[in-house]
């Protein structure tokens, strides 16, 4: 017990204070309701997202504001990493890989558009994060590479070089980054699960639960996308799904994909979380809507798990995990609302996106 207090007392107190500053739902509803981008920024002025408003006021560039926010968040996570040691530090690094992988994907996509699809593209290369997150590699060398081999070389001493080498032929043959990006996600979650497995038993249990729900959410999101945009066989889908989910096994997911029914999944969720029946009572007509219903249920389960951690024993890895997940979700929500307001989308549509 003394060791867990020593490990977590400081960082958990710090992160609990930050969690208390997360934006409440009422403020999100207010942001969705107001008429213009400037009004949303005015609301964000008294929140930790004020940097977006400050940057926008000085430069008129919303994307730059979002980039500044991302830089601030990554710096905070790097700071968190310095406060922890041992297995906790490894887990924090594993979580930070999420940002790094997202950044890598953006860089590779810019290269892909430029070199493989021969499109000069937009100015997205101006808004990419260039600072080191976990591994040291040059984003500019990736963006400006002449071929995939150059990117592989620039990623040496990182775990991504092997993944890219494995998929380089497929990228050129199929003209798509899809399978490479899926492999990056597999790597991210696999690494996270492996790091969690080596933690203290109490921390391991909490970590695996939360990471498991996150994996479930990711898998359901993919199945929705596979159903909508890709023509994949069941075997291909099974190969792509990330293992290690908490509620949804591979078998359930494959049944969902092939039969388009979600009743077994919903039944399973209801057994473990009967309080979610109010959400289930709403009707869902088509298969995509039913999958979106499952996604909503999983979101609620995630929030339930986080609430359980926040009200439980205070000296565990759960607070750190909860903060990372809640903050990431919140940032995505804020960015979605800002962009929706910039393009003058109505409130109902924004609600659907968010």
């Amino acid at each position: 017990m003394a060791s867990s207090i020593r490990k977590y007392a400081f960082i958990n107190a710090k992160l609990r204070a930050r969690i208390s500053k997360l934006i409440p739902d009422t403020l999100f509803h207010q942001m969705m309701r107001v008429g213009s981008l400037e009004e949303v920024l005015a609301i964000l002025r008294n929140t930790p997202y004020s940097i977006i408003d400050e940057t926008y006021a000085k430069t008129g560039d919303l994307k730059l504001g979002e980039l500044e926010l991302l830089k601030k968040e990554v710096s905070l996570h790097i700071e968190i990493e310095k406060y922890v040691k041992g297995d906790v530090q490894r887990l924090v690094q594993a979580l930070m890989l999420g940002y790094e992988i997202e950044n890598l994907k953006n860089a590779v996509r810019i290269f892909f558009d430029r070199k493989i699809r021969n499109r000069e593209g937009d100015d997205s290369h101006l808004y990419i994060l260039r600072q080191k997150i976990v591994h040291d590699f040059s984003v500019d060398r990736i963006i400006n590479a002449e071929n995939i081999e150059e990117i592989v070389k620039s990623l040496e001493n990182t775990p991504y070089t092997r993944l890219l080498s494995q998929h380089s032929e497929a990228i050129l043959r199929d003209g798509s980054l899809f399978f490479f990006e899926v492999s990056l996600d597999h790597f991210y979650y696999g690494n996270l699960l492996e790091t969690a497995e080596h933690m203290h038993p109490r921390d391991r249990k909490d970590s695996l639960r939360i990471i498991g729900v996150e994996i479930d959410l990711n898998n359901v999101d993919w199945i929705i996308r596979f159903r909508k945009f890709y023509d994949l066989s069941l075997e291909q889908v099974l190969g792509l799904i990330i293992p290690g989910g908490f509620q949804l096994s591979g078998e359930l997911l494959s049944e969902t994909y092939s039969s388009q029914g979600v009743s077994r999944i919903v039944q399973g969720i209801m057994r473990s979380h009967p309080g979610l029946s109010t959400i289930v009572n709403s009707q869902a007509a088509d298969s995509i809507s039913r999958l979106l219903l499952v996604e909503r249920l999983l979101e609620q389960i995630m929030l339930f798990e986080i609430k359980r951690i926040l009200t439980g024993y205070p000296f565990t890895i759960g607070i750190i995990l909860s903060y990372f997940l809640l903050k990431h979700r919140e940032m995505n929500k804020v960015k979605a609302i800002l962009n929706a307001k910039q393009y003058h989308l109505p409130e109902e549509q924004i609600l659907g996106i968010v």
Partner: protein, 679 residues
């Protein structure tokens, strides 16, 4: 000692007097309106809501929109005044919205221009970054492969077209360097983003451009190129700064009108908020609310005046409505403490709001908190520093956040009491400059007692804190009894953990403990004394559970009596006794931390002085700068760390050891609707 006495108004006025009465209620700003349907459910069918003429939500949204525009200008919006209420006009929301949309469009134009300028800056920075990243020199071949986003061309242009070329490319992120002239035409190097290739090519063609080879001296022009880029970026940033100022100026031009609109909207919003609590019958309007009893006469006179006496007003005190109060709603609470108690009221409110009709502990918190702080942090010099810092804070936060101002004032109080106890214990920045008025605290800790005193050792110091704790807990019990008597809950008065039996056990236990201590821990009082002081009340406590069981049965609730029920009674009695004995013992001993922290404070100062003395001994100088530094740093550390610790521990003892004896904290703060309402 108690919060302000409240009274409830029930009023019926004629329909056509609604607006006048609304304005009067808003002007007075003393009533917290309540929902009548909650109080009189049987009226639900006979009355209907008063519907405001415009949507309150819409008014609030537009008001917040104006606040959003004015906030970056640093304009502080004052609450509406009475004159604004008198001049109240309904606001045409559509027109105001359109006005705001026009302002937003003006600003959007500037933002779009800013966005374009920012794009140019970012592109130039990108060119700059890529040149820095990829090798020392320039070569066309290398550039083609390495500088994938930028391209470079070297060539010549007729002299008469050089200026027009510069003018045409001003808007495009690019670098044009004039090279050494060797012939009639002007040699130029141009560096640009590949995405702008078509535009650049067209401009170059129109200017009569002819490509040529990269010469050796051109390959080393990287520093000049970098300088040129930096100059362009600097110019663009100035333009950006100027646009930012223009946007603020433009908004500033509208600020007066916006402030006027804001006041109008706010008055209307508050007006309709008052009316949203009204209920309609066929020709009358009904409303109800709480107000301080001291405001009753003025409000009644004003309502009668504006309605020319055509009103029905009925007043209720909370005692008459006790049943309704307990069942339906709570009486709101208005603190009536003098201004100087504001910091301590803040401490009380942070814990909770006392129930109406119970004791407001604020004045007592002032005494207990400051005594505890003074005992833990006794030093004249360090206290003076706290007073100074607190006064700085009070000055700086004046007119700003009230909580920070109150915190600063609290620091002043803590500093003042530290100075007082510093005089009592003879501590001046840790030094014994003057004789202590009470006893030599530092002397006891350092083991250098000087003469006989009332307090001679650490145990005497700890004893002071224990007695203090007993006094505080005793106070808490007394308050609990008073609160219970006021509520008329006689069973609780006897059997509550903080009730008469609990108090009997506690003070009996204190006597027994004192007897034992006074007899060198070797003797207890007579068995009969222990029985009367502790045993009898403990036995009487057994009656609690059966009594509550019988009471709940009489009300028709509660469990059935079974064979296990007496066992339950016994178990609950044992647990209750354990809680009483262990709880009171730990509560009392908890106050020893006051002594402990005071000892720690003195010990820290002694340690720093010892270090300073050692530094002085190793120095050849008469006064070693290191020893001075150690004393200063030591004092700073002690003020920071010990000051914070003392403040937190004093708060903890108040909240946990004192408040838990009597404070329920389920009250609701009185929040009337007035022109100065925050939201």
């Amino acid at each position: 000692m108690f919060t302000a006495r409240m009274i409830k108004l029930f009023a019926v006025v004629l329909d056509h007097d609604t607006d006048k009465v609304t304005e009067e209620l808003l002007r007075e700003g003393v009533i917290q309106l309540i929902n009548i349907s909650r109080v009189e459910p049987e009226w639900q069918e006979k009355i209907s809501d008063v519907t405001p003429q415009v949507s309150m939500a819409q008014i609030a949204d537009i008001r917040k929109r104006i606040e959003g525009y004015l906030a970056p200008l640093g304009i502080h919006l004052e609450s509406p005044k009475e004159i604004d209420l008198e001049g109240r006009k309904p606001v045409a929301l559509e027109e105001v919205s359109r006005k705001l949309d026009r302002i937003a469009d003006e600003i959007r134009e500037i933002r779009e221009r800013q966005g374009s300028v920012q794009q140019e800056i970012l592109r130039l920075e990108d060119i700059h970054r890529q040149i820095q990243l990829f090798g020392p020199g320039l070569s066309r071949a290398a550039l083609r492969t390495q500088y994938s986003f930028i391209d470079v061309r070297v060539g010549t242009v007729p002299m008469q077209h050089v200026k027009s070329l510069h003018d045409e490319t001003r808007e495009i992120p690019s670098v044009i360097l004039q090279l050494k002239k060797d012939g009639e035409d002007q040699p130029l190097l141009i560096l640009y983003m590949k995405r702008d290739s078509d535009r650049i090519s067209r401009i170059l063609d129109e200017a009569g451009w002819k490509d040529s080879e990269l010469s050796e001296d051109v390959r080393n022009l990287k520093p000049e190129i970098a300088q040129d880029i930096e100059k362009k970026i600097s110019e663009l940033m100035e333009e950006q700064e100027s646009l930012h100022r223009v946007s603020k100026t433009r908004m500033g031009e509208h600020s007066e009108e916006l402030q006027r609109l804001w006041v109008q909207l706010r008055v209307n919003e508050l007006f309709y908020r008052v009316q949203s609590h009204f209920k309609h019958s066929s020709r009358t309007v009904i409303f109800s609310g709480w107000l301080p009893e001291s405001k009753r006469t003025a409000l009644e006179n004003n309502i009668r005046r504006v309605t020319s006496g055509r009103c029905f007003l009925e007043w209720y005190t909370p005692d008459l409505h006790k049943r309704e109060v307990e069942k339906e709603e709570s009486t709101p609470v208005l603190f009536k403490n003098p201004r100087f108690l504001a910091p301590f009221q803040m401490l009380v409110k942070n814990f909770g709001v006392p129930e109406y009709g119970t004791i407001d502990p604020t004045p007592f918190v002032m005494v207990t908190y400051l005594i505890m702080f003074g005992l833990m942090f006794a030093d004249v010099g360090q206290g003076a520093v706290l007073v100074f810092l607190g006064m700085l804070g009070t000055f700086f936060f004046k007119g700003k956040k009230e909580q920070l101002r109150n915190l600063s004032q609290l620091i002043v109080w803590c500093g003042a009491v530290s100075m007082t106890t510093g005089v009592l214990f003879g501590s001046y920045f840790g030094l014994p400059w003057f004789e202590p008025v009470w006893f030599d605290f530092h002397g006891i800790i350092s083991g250098r007692l000087q003469g006989q005193s009332v307090i001679n050792d650490i145990f005497d110091i700890l004893a002071i804190t224990v007695y203090f704790g007993i006094a505080v807990i005793g106070c808490g019990l007394l308050f609990n009894w008073i609160n219970i008597v006021l509520k008329g809950k006689w069973t609780e008065l006897v059997f509550d953990k903080g009730g008469l039996l609990g108090g009997w056990i506690y003070f009996g236990g204190v006597y027994v403990a004192r007897y034992m201590v006074m007899n060198g821990y070797k003797k207890l009082p007579d068995v009969s004394v222990i029985f009367w002081l502790v045993g009898l009340p403990a036995l009487l406590l057994f009656l609690k559970t059966p009594l509550y069981f019988i009471r709940s049965k009489r009300k028709g609730a509660g469990k059935k009596f079974t064979l296990f029920t007496p066992i339950d009674f016994g178990m609950e009695w044992v647990v209750e006794l354990l809680e009483v004995f262990a709880g009171y013992l730990s509560n009392t001993l908890s106050f020893m931390r006051v002594g402990g922290l005071g000892i720690a404070h003195a010990s820290l100062m002694i340690s720093f002085f010892e270090l300073a003395r050692m530094a002085q001994e190793t120095s050849a100088m008469q006064v070693s700068p290191w020893s001075i530094l150690i004393i200063i740093v030591g004092n700073v550390l002690v003020i920071g760390l010990e000051g914070l610790t003392a403040g937190i521990q004093a708060l903890r003892l108040n909240y946990y050891e004192f408040f838990t004896k009597f404070f329920r904290g389920s009250g609701e703060v009185f929040s009337p609707v007035s022109l100065s309402s925050r939201d």
